[in-house]
């Protein structure tokens, strides 16, 4: 009888131990699951993932080259008439040949936000509030008058006889002659002349001259590209807001644009980093690089086009000049 009782006690002890173990395992597993769930779900997540996908059939370009830039910061990109690639950074202009081999460096006194290269290979540099001109040997030829404390120069474009400078601080485009004499202020709000005025919420404000010799400026706050005569008359504009691929996203885009020789626009955006081709009517025709080709937080994708119509992109986040060429089959 006693032996039976001991056996019964042992059975009960075993059952209790097994149940305890099962309970510990069950609740432990639940707790771990709950905890991992808590770590994954973020109720306050800012989600723009759905806008980051781009239709692969629209991507008609491939990346064909990269030029690494050993600079703490890089700001501006230009291609010279000889095909050399110019990159501006902190107190430095780096010059590469078309194959990406470093040729020379020009040292300057302050960060260069933007630059343009003249036919005679003089380099026009946009500092914070004034322009400096250097020759190819790195010798300063001229330093133009400052446009005041409010000025933030963000882009330079050259025509046959004029220099256009976008000023994100004063919300205008300055027109100078090649000697630095101020000729005109372009784009000031004027209801009588139907000039809407520039809205530039962040310091990205680009200008370029199209193959027909007309001036274009990015009115980023209005998500549009605006066309002006050389005398500052407002001609036309195009562009619309859209988080989708067809328009310009966020509060203020496109940050940069440039022209292909057929007059098509290449545009770059921030927020959703992407580079697209729009035809002369402003219709989006293809994607050069989608958001998946840039790291998070990429802004300031300055653009240039070389004589082979390759698209050069300054990637300040990865410190690279990235070269994109149209696919052979055009697809």
């Amino acid at each position: 009888m006693a032996a039976f009782k001991i056996k019964k006690d042992r059975i009960w002890s075993g059952v209790i131990i097994v149940l305890s173990m099962a309970g510990i395992l069950f609740f432990g597993y639940k707790a771990i699951q709950e905890n991992s769930k808590r770590n994954q779900d973020n109720p306050f997540e800012y989600d723009i993932e759905r806008f980051m996908e781009s239709d692969a059939s629209l991507v008609h370009y491939s990346e064909v080259g990269r030029i690494p830039l050993e600079q703490p910061h890089v700001y501006g990109l230009a291609v010279g008439p000889e095909g050399n690639i110019y990159v501006s950074g902190d107190k430095t202009i780096l010059i590469f040949n078309g194959e990406g081999i470093h040729q020379s460096t020009i040292s300057v006194d302050e960060p260069v936000h933007c630059l343009a290269v003249e036919k005679n290979r003089d380099v026009y540099l946009g500092m914070n509030n004034h322009v400096e001109v250097y020759d190819l040997d790195g010798k300063k030829k001229a330093e133009w008058e400052s446009r005041g404390e409010e000025a933030i120069f963000t882009s330079i474009a050259l025509s046959e006889d004029s220099v256009f400078v976008a000023d994100a601080g004063n919300l205008i485009v300055w027109k100078f002659d090649k000697s630095g004499n101020l000729l005109k202020k372009i784009g000031e709000k004027d209801e009588k002349k139907d000039i809407p005025g520039f809205i530039i919420p962040s310091p990205y404000f680009d200008v370029a001259v199209d193959p027909d010799g007309f001036l274009w400026a990015a009115n980023t706050g209005r998500h549009s590209l605006e066309n002006y005569t050389m005398d500052g008359g407002f001609r036309t504009s195009w562009g619309e807001f859209s988080m989708g691929i067809e328009g310009f996203c966020g509060c203020c885009n496109p940050t940069h644009f440039i022209f292909l020789e057929d007059g098509s626009f290449i545009t770059s955006e921030k927020g959703i980093a992407r580079i697209k081709v729009h035809n002369q009517l402003g219709e989006m025709v293809s994607v050069v690089a989608g958001p998946d080709q840039f790291v998070e937080g990429t802004v300031g994708l300055d653009l240039a086009v070389d004589s082979a119509q390759r698209i050069l992109v300054l990637d300040p986040k990865q410190k690279l000049v990235r070269i994109f060429a149209k696919n052979q089959d055009g697809q």
Binding site: N42, F44, I200, P201, S202, F241, M243, C251, G271
Partner: protein, 195 residues
């Protein structure tokens, strides 16, 4: 022949006396150190560096207070006063209005006021802000970063080991002098420095 020196066992009284001397020495040295450090260094407080912050939204849930001491701050001097404010509107919002479905802020802490075409002013209601940084992320992604997070010292308990700082993935939290307790952006930073 060498004679081994025998160690004399310590008497209880000697042991207590030596122990007391050691304890007194440690106490005096420690107190002196603390007093010296108090007199030579300024009081420090916790602050979030907006230039390092990655807007991970953890500040909202990791503070020991029921409502986080971290709040959104707006630099009016930097703000673009955009109609299409990416810190106020949901990405891809159908309308640019004050409808709840259009707003990004989960607690409706941002007020949008019309100024003139096409400008709008945005203000933060601190009482409603939970410090999630969702608006900050929107502003940083598409705008110019005029919205950013700061630890509010009228609420912060200044814990010795800040529970938000301990969990901050970007290590954006730092000790700053109590005389300059905020890391501000835009013109506001200059005004603050000038007092």
């Amino acid at each position: 022949m060498t004679q081994k020196r025998q160690k004399k066992p310590m008497k209880r009284r000697d042991f207590i006396r030596k122990g007391l001397h050691t304890a007194a020495g440690v106490t005096i040295t420690g107190l002196s150190g603390i007093l010296l450090s108090k007199s030579s260094s300024e009081e420090m407080v916790w602050q979030l560096d907006p230039n390092i912050c990655i807007q991970c939204e953890k500040c909202a849930v990791n503070c020991v207070l029921p409502l986080s001491s971290v709040k959104c701050v707006h630099s009016f001097s930097m703000c673009g006063y955009c109609d299409l404010c990416s810190g106020y509107l949901q990405p891809g919002a159908r309308d640019r209005d004050t409808g709840a479905e259009s707003q990004l802020c989960p607690s409706g802490a941002i007020t949008r006021n019309f100024i003139e075409i096409p400008y709008f002013e945005y203000t933060i209601d601190e009482k409603l802000c939970i410090g999630c940084g969702k608006c900050v992320k929107g502003c940083a992604s598409f705008g110019n970063g005029s919205l950013y997070l700061q630890n509010q010292h009228d609420r912060c308990l200044n814990c010795n080991e800040c529970s938000i700082a301990r969990r901050c993935p970007s290590q954006a939290w730092k000790r700053v002098p109590a005389s300059q307790p905020y890391i501000l952006r835009g013109d506001e930073s200059q005004k603050f420095l000038k007092g």
